[in-house]
């Protein structure tokens, strides 16, 4: 009897006894992480499917000849830089400096918009050369299909990220500001950067 009461008290005192956060985060940050993990699974499926299509294809166009690699490298640089600035925005928000946080957020948004502009340019060029979801001039249909699906899905994430960051920045400028909110938006933005790191390495460089 004594030991079961002691056991009950031990559980109540532990992280799982209620009223505490077993993961040591706010609920919103934890939900953002769960979302990121599930979204990462989607991209993992896309990239594995791409790898599968590429392996069964007897040939594959040389990406460095099809795409403007200077532009792609610049886009990578742009996204990594905006990610670094976003991390600084979170630090400013944590240090209770909303003005600085808004400035960094604005810079991050500019980085995102530049990326989207480059992607629109790249897509336009690619489509003008005759690429569609099912056909393209380089002979392997899966080449353009995986390009449109993977970069399109990623580009939509960048667009959503810019929208979220704009909302967070406007709210911070209005004084409705929480460091947790900035951090959660930041986590999403870094995730978008992580996905691009994979796309850059496996779609463009491999």
């Amino acid at each position: 009897m004594d030991s079961s009461i002691a056991e009950q008290q031990r559980i109540l005192a532990s992280d799982w006894g209620g009223g505490r956060s077993p993961f040591g985060t706010s609920w919103s940050k934890f939900m953002m992480w769960i979302f990121i993990v599930s979204d990462a699974l989607t991209f993992a499926a896309f990239l594995i499917a791409y790898g599968f299509m590429r392996s069964i294809s007897p040939e594959w166009p040389k990406q460095t000849e099809v795409f403007n690699m200077v532009l792609i490298t610049f886009m990578t640089f742009d996204l990594i830089s905006s990610s670094a600035v976003m991390a600084m925005a979170v630090a400013a928000a944590r240090a209770s400096n909303p003005k600085r946080a808004v400035q960094f957020l604005a810079l991050t948004i500019v980085g995102g918009l530049i990326f989207l502009g480059c992607q629109a340019f790249e897509w336009t060029h690619f489509i003008e050369e005759g690429a569609t979801l099912t056909h393209n001039p380089w002979g392997v249909p899966q080449f353009a299909a995986s390009f449109f699906v993977i970069t399109g899905f990623h580009g939509f994430h960048v667009f959503s990220g810019v929208t979220i960051l704009a909302i967070v920045a406007i709210r911070a400028a209005m004084g409705k500001y929480s460091a947790d909110g900035v951090e959660n938006a930041g986590l999403y933005w870094h995730f978008v950067d992580v996905v691009w790191v994979f796309v850059f390495a496996f779609y463009y460089l491999l």
Partner: protein, 104 residues
Amino acid sequence: MAEHHDEHSISYKTYIKTWVWLLVLTAIALGVGYAPINEKLKALLLVGTTLMKILVIAAVFMHLRYERINLILITFAPLILAIVMFAFTFPETLGTATHVLRVR
């Protein structure tokens, strides 16, 4: 523990250093991409630089190194599932490739 987590703040200098490292890793990946080496070695080196980059981004930018171990472990789920999916599909691609070769 919880108090410690809320108080952590990384300096701007650390972020700038991390940014420089990420650019260096990107340059290495770019070099590997253009290097006239065996495709398998290239794939291996690109996987290596990519994993290093995402570890740096996750640990520093996403503050994962300040989180509890159970949250860190959750983030490995997609990587493990990707390996499982790869392990399931890759043998099949080998079969198909030989099939394609045989037909030709």
